[in-house]
């Protein structure tokens, strides 16, 4: 006797339809699962058996073969438990087989028959909708998340017995409330109004937020680099709904989604510097998103930049440039989006006190430090800001800005960009491709002169030149200027690291 149940697995971020087929025939009692499953899938046998027995059903004492088709697709995780259990119940006649035809089933089982939440419910729901199914059974805690997909009948269940009951035509749980999450500003509890002094750094944060430019804060320990970086989300514009759905999908697939429905705030990710390359950009035998993708549409904060392992920093290059990362495993390629705003912080030298006489670093230490920070990664950072210890007088002053005032400036600058870039699919200056840049940012030669000179001297790479021009455009937007003027170009150049001996001492 044969039964089929539809479920989904996650391949990268994409849902892939998986059909759970079960064949039950007479013979010595046996239960096997085939179809390229990982260990969690093989262990599903024990969970499913116990869950069925503890829910008051019989477990067929026959020869059971479960196939997860297509058999060529690698499958991971415990999300197949519920589908396998439903297939067994259908094969045993406990639930009518046709009841499952138009539904997909997704969830992990506990030994007692309870349904546990698992990763990627939103992606699965999107898969079910794309496949043209009527509905989806998910763990109760994931109802709001799966309910973000329009036009899908989402059934939340907490126990296996309850699922069987519904399938037999029993009482349906009330349909889930629509997700009422309001897209909010992030970092609500951290306000720039708490900052004393640091006027120049706050301005740099505003510029970074206005055009989504990457930022490097350099300064001695304890001067407030982390404190300042954590306030950046408070001046970023709120997520759009489409962006929020994208963020929710990624966080859900990575198992990082703590809430119920939509992720409402821009993510702020601050991985520790011991992180590996695959932890940062994604990886694993079955690829899962890394911190760079979890920071998608938000902020990736790398504190102690020079302490990160070199391979991890190297791996960031593609995500920084393309806004996505491709993880290749065998013949499959998983693509994860990585449009984050990079904020990095570093000490000016390994001991942290350069250039003051307290610094005990030797030439070699400084050279190593500078080497870590040098080259391709730094080339993708538009703003280098030296965070100084504010003098006592400044500390006593009233703050010169608040998150509210700065957010207003950011929003105004973003609106100018949206208007200019209307129809290009790009929303801010830093994301303009080179060709778009030429079309939308035209500057007369005398204005571009300082850039051309710096390029000719070899101080600026071609990429650096383009990035400086994008930053100049943002400075002009903040100044509400239609034209990029020389002062914008020159200030943008002043923010580039090439102009500074500040990161490490080179002689």
């Amino acid at each position: 006797m044969l039964a089929r149940v539809t479920t989904f697995t996650i391949d990268g971020l994409e849902p892939r339809r998986v059909t759970v087929e079960i064949d039950v025939r007479a013979g010595l009692p046996n239960f096997t699962i085939v179809g390229l499953g990982d260990r969690a899938v093989r262990e599903a046998r024990e969970r499913v058996r116990a869950a069925i027995l503890n829910s008051g059903f019989e477990f067929p004492l026959k020869r059971l073969t479960v196939n997860l088709a297509p058999a060529s697709l690698r499958k991971a995780g415990p999300g197949f438990d519920l589908a396998i259990a439903c297939a067994i119940l259908a094969a045993g006649g406990h639930v009518p087989a046709d009841a499952l035809e138009r539904y997909a089933v997704f969830g992990e089982l506990g030994l007692g028959g309870e349904i546990r939440p698992c990763r990627g419910a939103l992606a699965v729901a999107e898969g079910a909708a794309q496949a043209g199914l009527d509905g989806l059974v998910v763990p109760l805690q994931r109802v709001l998340e799966a309910g973000l997909v329009e036009g899908l009948d989402v059934l939340g269940a907490s126990r296996l017995a309850q699922v069987a009951d519904i399938l037999r035509g029993g009482e349906r749980p009330p349909p889930p409330d629509r997700d009422e999450t309001v897209l909010a500003l992030s970092g609500r509890h951290l306000d720039l109004a708490d900052v004393r002094g640091h006027t120049d750094v706050v301005e740099a944060l505003t510029i970074a937020a206005a055009g989504a430019h990457n930022l490097l804060l350099s300064g001695p320990p304890g001067v407030g680099k982390t404190m300042l970086a954590r306030r950046l989300p408070s001046i970023l514009p709120p997520l759009s709904r489409a962006e929020a759905v994208e963020v929710t999908r990624i966080h859900s697939v990575a198992g990082q989604h703590r809430g119920a429905g939509l992720v409402a705030e821009r993510p702020f990710r601050a991985p520790h510097h011991m992180i590996s390359a695959s932890g940062l950009v994604g990886g694993g035998a079955v690829p899962v998103p890394g911190e760079a993708s979890l920071a998608h549409h938000g902020v990736l904060f790398l504190d102690e930049l020079s302490e990160f392992p070199r391979p991890a920093l190297e791996a960031l290059r593609q995500p920084l440039e393309d806004g996505r990362v491709a993880i290749v495993r065998g013949q499959r390629t998983a693509i994860f989006p990585t449009r984050f705003l990079l904020v990095a912080a570093t000490n000016p030298c390994p001991c942290g006190y350069a250039p003051s006489p307290r610094c005990r670093c030797r030439d070699g230490d400084l050279a190593r430090h500078a080497r870590r920070l040098s080259g391709p990664l730094l080339d993708r950072i538009d703003l280098l800001v030296h965070v100084q210890r504010p003098d006592a007088e400044r500390l006593a002053q009233e703050p010169t800005a608040s998150s509210e005032t700065e957010r207003a400036r950011v929003t105004a600058a973003r609106e100018r960009q949206l208007e200019r870039l209307d129809g290009t699919g790009v929303t801010c200056n830093a994301h303009m491709e080179a060709r778009m840049l030429r079309r939308h940012v035209r500057v007369p030669e005398d204005v571009e002169r300082p850039l051309l000179d710096a390029y000719r001297r070899g101080d600026l790479s071609a990429r650096g030149r383009d990035r400086t021009l994008r930053l100049a455009r943002t400075l002009a937007d903040l100044a509400a200027s239609d034209e990029v003027q020389r002062e914008h170009v020159v200030a943008a150049l002043g923010y580039r690291h090439e102009m500074s001996a500040g990161v490490g001492v080179a002689a």
């Binding site: 002094g197 003051s356 030296h386 100084q388 000179d453 001996a501 002689a507």
Partner: protein, 383 residues
């Protein structure tokens, strides 16, 4: 340098270059290199290096040859001078012996003046940078100091190098880590007038990590050494090199030096042969400034910036003018930086001032009036 010197390097026909040096001077150089190991041992026996280097060839052989004296003397007698010349030419260097017009006459103030100098960068340029005697030739200032310089020390050395070279003064140093190479780098940033004196062969970048600096100096200034091409420096070569640095310059400035530092040897030689000595003051508690502060106590000139050095090396007040043509806004900003408000944070009081102030600072940087130093501080470039 294996690739040969760029412009001003090997002249056609090789009649200049190596072939120009006279045979007896090349032979003496060969002898010193041959006896280098013995000189090292003699130093351990408390013989004074400068006395050794002042000995005549026969005395050198007799005094240092030891058991091998006869064999070495025989080799010396039958030396193939043409082969030596060829080796010099092959290395891409040129040689100026003490009978050559390109030989810096000011070295003759030393009792133990080197018999010949091997040069990367061209004899013509050496003559221009350090050629004639003290009264006529280009002015030169030596900048020396500890290899383990502080970030501030590196910055001061660099600013001195830049300011002096910009004023047309030749910056002489030893290309060592720390102060020395910062001084060269500073000079290269402005006019490029700089001479590096190496302890070993002038074609061997030492320290190796400064290979790039070596090639930059050879391209725009000169690298010189008294030992033949390819010679790898022994310990005694470093103090020996210091006497050439001191003699080439009108003034020796010590930027940072511990109490027993090679830089103090350079200063001592400078005093011996009647040159000026200056030192950059530092905190009395800093080990790196113990040597320089001691020099100051003994009467060395206080050097705070390139202007102080120029007062001594060139003459008082030859340096003001250039900032007058700046627009008032930029001039005021330059003044503020000079007064110690030298960071963007200190100069911009409200958010609206930040970008315009940074733009103005960068303009000053592009015009060559300011330079960004470590930690985002701005430093006024002396003009």
């Amino acid at each position: 340098m294996s690739g040969g010197a760029p412009d001003g390097g090997l002249s056609p026909g090789a009649a200049t270059g190596a072939a120009r040096a006279c045979g007896s001077c090349l032979a003496r150089t060969w002898l010193i290199a041959r006896l280098a190991g013995s000189i090292e041992i003699a130093r351990h026996q408390k013989r004074r290096l400068r006395e050794i280097l002042a000995l005549a060839e026969e005395e050198l052989l007799a005094g240092l040859g030891g058991a091998r004296a006869v064999a070495i003397a025989d080799e010396f007698e039958h030396l193939d001078i043409d082969a030596l010349r060829e080796a010099v030419a092959r290395s891409g260097l040129e040689a100026a012996c003490r009978h050559d017009p390109a030989y810096p006459a000011r070295l003759r103030d030393l009792d133990d003046a080197p018999a010949a100098l091997f040069v990367a960068g061209g004899l013509g340029r050496l003559q221009e940078l350090a050629g004639a005697d003290l009264e006529q030739g280009a002015r030169a200032v030596a900048i020396v100091g500890t290899r383990r310089a502080s970030a501030d020390g590196v910055e001061v050395a660099r600013a001195l190098g830049r300011g002096l070279a910009a004023a047309g003064v030749t910056v002489v140093s030893g290309m060592a880590l720390g102060v020395d190479s910062a001084a060269h780098a500073g000079a290269l940033e402005s006019s490029g007038r700089t001479v590096a004196v190496l302890a070993g062969g002038a074609d061997v970048p030492y320290p190796p990590s400064k290979a790039r600096l070596h090639s930059l100096i050879a391209a725009r200034g000169c690298v010189v050494g008294e030992l033949p091409p390819g010679f790898v420096a022994m310990r005694w070569c470093f103090p020996a090199r210091n006497r050439i640095i001191a003699a080439l310059a009108h003034m020796t400035i010590v930027v940072e030096a511990a109490r027993r530092s090679g830089s103090l040897i350079t200063a001592e030689i400078a005093i011996d042969i009647g040159r000026e000595v200056g030192a950059v003051p530092g905190p009395v508690t800093a080990w790196r400034s113990a040597g320089t502060n001691a020099l100051l106590r003994d009467g060395a000139t206080v050097i705070r910036d390139a202007a102080d050095a120029l007062d001594v090396a060139v003459g008082v007040d030859r340096h003001e003018a250039a900032v007058l043509h700046l627009e008032p806004r930029l001039r005021a900003l330059l003044g503020a930086v000079a007064d110690g408000r030298d960071t963007l944070a200190a100069l911009a009081r409200v958010p609206a001032e930040v970008a315009p102030t940074l733009a103005a600072l960068t303009e000053l940087e592009l015009l060559g009036h300011l330079r960004r130093a470590a930690g985002g501080r701005y430093v006024v470039i002396p003009t």
